[in-house]
C-alpha cells in the first residue's frame, strides 16, 4: 500500500512547491490590492475636490449657453470619471441640456471612448456604454448601436434598443427589429416599451395592433399602463378576455393604472376568473384602491371556494369600511 520512499519524496516536493506558489500568488495579489487602495486613498480627496469643480463648471455651462466650458479645464480628469459625471447629469436634464452635455462629451473624447467600450468582451461594459450613448447623436452612434441589436447578451440588446429610440432616423428599422427580436418580449424590455409609448405613441399602437408572443403582449400592456396611454384603453380592455391568465391580469392592471372607467368592468370579470390567484389579486386591488363601486361583488368573494381569496376579501372589506374593526386577530391554526 505504501509507495516507495523516492516516489513519496518527489511527490512531497511537488506538493510543497505547489503550496508555495499558491501562497506567493495569494500574497502578491493582496499586495497589489492594498497598494492600489493606498494610491486611491492618496488621490481620493484631490479627486473629490476636482469632481466638484468639474460638476460646477458643467452645471454652469448647462445653465447658461454663453458660459463655455474649457475642455482643457477637464481634460486632465480620468475619462471614466467624466463619463460617469456626464451620465449622472444627463439623467437630470432634458432637451437642450442633454445636447450640450453630448457636445461636451464629444470634445473631451468621451464619445470615442464609449464607442470603443461597445466592443469590450465584458457584456457589462457594453451594456453601460450603450445606455450612456443615448445622449449622443450622429451616424456613427446609430451604426454602432444598431450593430449592438444583434449582441449575444440580451440585456445589451435591450439597452441598445432603448438608446436607439431617441434617434429618429433609426426608428423604422428599430421597430422592424422590435417585432422580431425575442429579447423585446422579455419582462426586462419593459423600459423599452414604456419609452416607446411615451415618445412615439403612434408607433407603439401600431406594434400593439400586430399579434405577437404572449411575453411581448404582457410587457407592452404593463408599459401602456405605466406610460398613461389612455387612448389604447379599448384595445387593452379587449385583452381582458384573453385565454392566457397572465395577459388577462396584465390588461386589467394596465386599465387600473390608466384610471380608465373600463377598469371596473375588467376588475369585475377578474373577480370571477377561474384562476384563484387572479381573483385574490382583484380583491386586493379593490381594497387598496378603495373601489366602492365593486363592494357588492367583493362581498360575494367572502364565499369564494379559495381560502386566500376569502381572506383577502375580508381584508378589502375592512379597508373599504364595510366591516367594523373588532380588535381581534387574524386567524391561525
Amino acid at each position: 500500500m505504501v509507495p516507495s520512499p523516492p516516489l513519496i519524496e518527489a511527490f512531497s516536493r511537488a506538493i510543497w512547491q505547489l503550496a508555495l506558489i499558491l501562497v506567493l500568488i495569494g500574497l502578491l495579489v493582496v499586495l497589489v490590492l492594498v497598494l492600489r487602495r493606498l494610491l486611491e486613498e492618496l488621490r481620493r480627496d484631490g479627486l473629490a475636490r476636482r469632481r466638484e469643480v468639474a460638476r460646477r463648471l458643467i452645471l454652469e455651462h448647462l445653465r447658461s449657453p454663453d458660459a463655455a466650458v474649457e475642455a482643457d479645464a477637464l481634460s486632465d480628469l480620468p475619462a471614466d470619471f467624466l463619463i460617469e459625471l456626464i451620465d449622472e447629469l444627463a439623467q437630470m436634464v432634458r432637451g437642450e441640456g442633454r445636447a450640450r452635455l453630448a457636445e461636451l462629451g464629444r470634445r473631451l473624447g468621451l464619445l470615442d471612448r464609449l464607442l470603443e467600450e461597445l466592443r469590450s468582451w465584458r457584456p457589462g461594459l457594453r451594456l453601460e456604454a450603450a445606455r450612456r450613448l443615448s445622449i449622443y447623436r450622429g451616424e456613427e452612434v446609430v451604426r454602432a448601436l444598431s450593430e449592438l441589436l444583434f449582441d449575444r447578451a440580451v440585456p445589451v440588446r435591450i439597452a441598445a434598443a432603448i438608446a436607439l429610440l431617441d434617434h429618429e432616423v433609426a426608428l423604422p428599422d428599430l421597430l422592424r427589429h422590435a417585432r422580431l427580436d425575442p429579447a423585446l418580449s422579455r419582462p426586462a424590455a419593459f423600459l423599452f416599451w414604456q419609452r416607446l409609448a411615451e415618445i412615439r405613441p403612434e408607433s407603439f399602437e401600431r406594434l400593439f395592433a400586430t399579434s405577437g408572443p404572449a411575453g411581448r403582449r404582457i410587457v407592452m400592456l404593463k408599459a401602456a399602463g405605466a406610460a398613461g396611454l389612455g387612448r389604447l384603453a379599448p384595445r387593452i380592455a379587449a385583452e381582458t378576455g384573453s385565454p392566457d391568465p397572465e395577459i388577462r391580469r396584465a390588461a386589467t392592471i394596465a386599465l387600473l393604472d390608466l384610471n380608465h372607467p373600463l377598469a371596473l368592468d375588467a376588475l369585475s370579470r377578474m373577480l370571477a376568473d377561474p384562476e384563484p390567484r387572479l381573483r385574490a389579486e382583484a380583491v386586493v386591488a379593490i381594497g387598496r384602491r378603495k373601489l366602492v363601486a365593486l363592494l357588492g361583488a367583493l362581498r360575494d368573494r367572502r364565499d369564494d371556494p379559495d381560502p386566500a381569496v376569502r381572506f383577502r376579501a375580508e381584508e378589502a372589506l375592512l379597508r373599504l369600511g364595510a366591516r367594523a374593526a373588532t380588535g381581534g386577530g387574524s386567524g391561525g391554526r
Partner: protein
C-alpha cells in the same frame, strides 16, 4: 492484538488516510472552482448602477413588496429597526412586524411609537401558524402593520406575515439586522428582468460589529475590534461574495439567508410556506422551492445579487458562536435529511447534482473526515506509516488553498462591493484569512461535528440567543 487483527487495523487506517486525502483534494478543488466561477460571474455581469438611475428604471416596474420582520424580545431596538425599514427606498411597499409572543415590551413600544390601531378578525390565511392575538395598523404610517401572536418560532411568524402580506413579493428580514437604504431596489432587479420565472433573490449579509449605526443605518464601515468577529467577517465575505455567486451562476443556489431574502409570495404559498420543523428554515425553503419546481417541470430562477447589503451582529464570544454554529449545522442536516432524495439526482438539475451534493460533501462528509484525519494522521505518523515530509507538505497545501480562496474572496469584494473603505482594512482581512487556518478552521469543524451529534440526539429548537445593541454613531 493478534497479527491478522493488527494487519486489518493497519489496512483500515491506511484506507481511511487515503479517504481523508481524497476528500481534502475534492473539497479544495471545489472551493477553487467556486472561486474561479465567481470571478468569471463578476467580470461578465453589468456594473452596479447608482441608486438614482436604478430608481428611474424601476419606479414603474417594481412590483409591490411586503417586508416581513419577525420580532421576539426586541424592545430595545424595534423602534429604530422599524423606522429604518419604513425609510427604505422602494416605490410601493409595506412593513409587517410579527411580534412572536415577546416576553418584553416589544408590542407596547410599537403601539406607543406608531399609534397602532386594531384591525378586525380575519379568517385563517392559506398558511398554518399558531393563533394570532391581534392585527394592528399604524394610524401614523399606514404602510405599517403589526401582527401580535403567540410564540411559534421564526418560521411560524414568517408564515403569519406571508398570510397577511399584500405584496406580490415579500422580503424576509431580521429585526436585529440593518438593510442598506437601496437594498430592496437592488434585490428586486432580477424579479423585474426575469418576470414570473424569478421566484427568489438573496442579497449579501455583512458583519456590523464595530460599525457605527445611526437611525438604523450603518454610517461608516469599520472592522470589528474583536478577533472572533474579524474571523467571521472573512467567513461571511467568502460565503456571500464567492460561494453564493458561483452557485447562482450554475442555477444551484440552495440557500438564501434568513436575514435578508426576497421571495415571490405565490411561489412560497404553493410550497406551503416556511417549515416549522427545522431551525434551518431559510435553507429548507429554498430546497423545497427547487424540488417543487423541478418535480413539476416548471421554469424558474433563484438568484443572488451581491450589491444589496444587510448588516448583522455576529457573536463575539466562543460560547455564543458555538451555539449559533451548532444550530446552523443542525438546520443544514435537518434540511438535507428532508430533501436527501435530491442529492446527486439529475432530475433536480444543478440544485441537486451540484448544490446539494456540495452541501452534503462540505457540511456532512468533510467535517467528519477531516476530524478523522486529525486523529488518524498523528497515529499513522507515529507508527511510521506516513512520511513526515509528505504529511507536512500536505498540510501546507491545504493551508495554501485556504489562503488562495480567502484572497479570491477579497478580490471579489474589491471588484464589486468595495464596502471596506481603507487599504488597512484589506491588509487586516488578508492577515486574518491566513490566521484563520490555524485553530479557527479546526474549531469550526468541531462545532459541525457537535451539530451532527445534536442532530443525531434529536435536539430541537433555537436555544438561547442573547441580543446585542449596535454601536451608536
Amino acid at each position: 492484538m493478534t497479527a491478522p487483527v493488527w494487519t486489518a487495523f493497519l489496512l483500515l487506517a491506511q484506507l481511511l488516510a487515503m479517504l481523508v486525502l481524497a476528500v481534502g483534494i475534492v473539497q479544495n478543488l471545489l472551493y477553487f472552482a467556486l472561486m474561479l466561477t465567481a470571478l468569471w460571474a463578476m467580470v461578465t455581469r453589468p456594473p452596479a448602477r447608482r441608486t438614482r438611475a436604478l430608481w428611474t428604471g424601476l419606479v414603474d416596474a417594481a412590483p409591490p413588496l411586503s417586508v416581513i420582520v419577525p420580532a421576539y424580545d426586541e424592545e430595545l431596538t424595534i423602534e429604530e429597526s422599524v423606522r429604518a425599514l419604513l425609510a427604505l427606498q422602494y416605490p410601493d411597499f409595506e412593513v409587517i412586524v410579527v411580534n412572536d409572543g415577546s416576553r418584553d415590551g416589544t408590542l407596547e413600544r410599537l403601539k406607543e411609537r406608531f399609534a397602532l390601531e386594531p384591525e378586525a378578525t380575519l379568517p385563517a390565511g392559506p398558511l398554518a401558524h399558531v393563533p394570532c392575538r391581534a392585527v394592528y395598523r399604524s394610524a401614523a404610517v399606514p404602510a405599517l402593520r403589526v401582527i401580535d401572536k403567540e410564540n411559534g418560532g421564526k418560521a411560524d411568524a414568517l408564515n403569519a406575515g406571508i398570510n397577511l402580506a399584500e405584496g406580490e413579493l415579500f422580503c424576509a428580514a431580521d429585526a436585529d439586522s440593518l438593510l442598506e437604504a437601496d437594498s430592496l431596489l437592488r434585490a428586486v432587479q432580477p424579479f423585474v428582468e426575469g418576470g414570473e420565472e424569478t421566484i427568489a433573490v438573496g442579497g449579501t449579509v455583512r458583519v456590523a460589529n464595530g460599525c457605527p449605526v445611526r437611525g438604523g443605518r450603518v454610517v461608516e464601515v469599520r472592522l470589528p475590534t474583536r478577533f472572533l468577529a474579524l474571523l467571521q467577517t472573512v467567513e461571511y465575505m467568502r460565503a456571500f461574495t464567492m460561494a453564493r455567486l458561483a452557485f447562482e451562476r450554475f442555477g444551484a443556489l440552495f440557500i438564501i439567508s434568513g436575514a435578508f431574502g426576497i421571495f415571490r409570495r405565490q411561489a412560497v404559498l404553493e410550497v406551503g410556506g416556511y417549515s416549522t420543523a427545522t431551525v434551518g428554515e431559510d435553507l429548507e425553503l429554498v430546497l423545497r422551492l427547487h424540488r417543487f419546481m423541478r418535480e413539476r417541470g416548471r421554469r424558474y430562477a433563484i438568484r443572488f445579487v451581491p450589491e444589496p447589503v444587510c448588516w448583522t451582529q455576529v457573536p463575539e464570544n466562543l460560547a455564543a458562536l458555538a451555539r449559533q454554529r451548532i444550530r446552523w449545522h443542525r438546520g443544514a442536516l435537518e434540511s438535507l435529511a428532508a430533501h436527501r432524495r435530491m442529492i446527486g439526482r439529475r432530475r433536480y438539475g444543478a440544485a441537486g447534482w451540484l448544490g446539494l451534493t456540495s452541501l452534503a460533501l462540505l457540511d456532512v462528509v468533510a467535517p467528519a473526515v477531516e476530524a478523522a484525519g486529525y486523529l488518524l494522521m498523528p497515529v499513522l505518523w507515529a507508527l511510521g506509516m506516513i512520511d513526515t515530509s509528505f504529511l507536512l507538505a500536505w498540510l501546507a497545501l491545504t493551508f495554501a488553498f485556504g489562503v488562495i480562496v480567502s484572497v479570491g474572496a477579497l478580490v471579489l469584494e474589491e471588484m464589486e462591493l468595495r464596502r471596506f473603505p481603507r487599504a488597512g482594512h484589506l491588509a487586516i482581512l488578508a492577515l486574518v484569512a491566513i490566521l484563520e487556518n490555524f485553530g479557527y478552521r479546526q474549531l469550526a469543524n468541531l462545532w459541525r461535528i457537535a451539530g451532527h451529534l445534536a442532530w443525531l440526539r434529536g435536539m430541537r429548537g433555537w436555544g438561547r440567543q442573547p441580543r446585542r445593541a449596535f454601536v451608536r454613531a
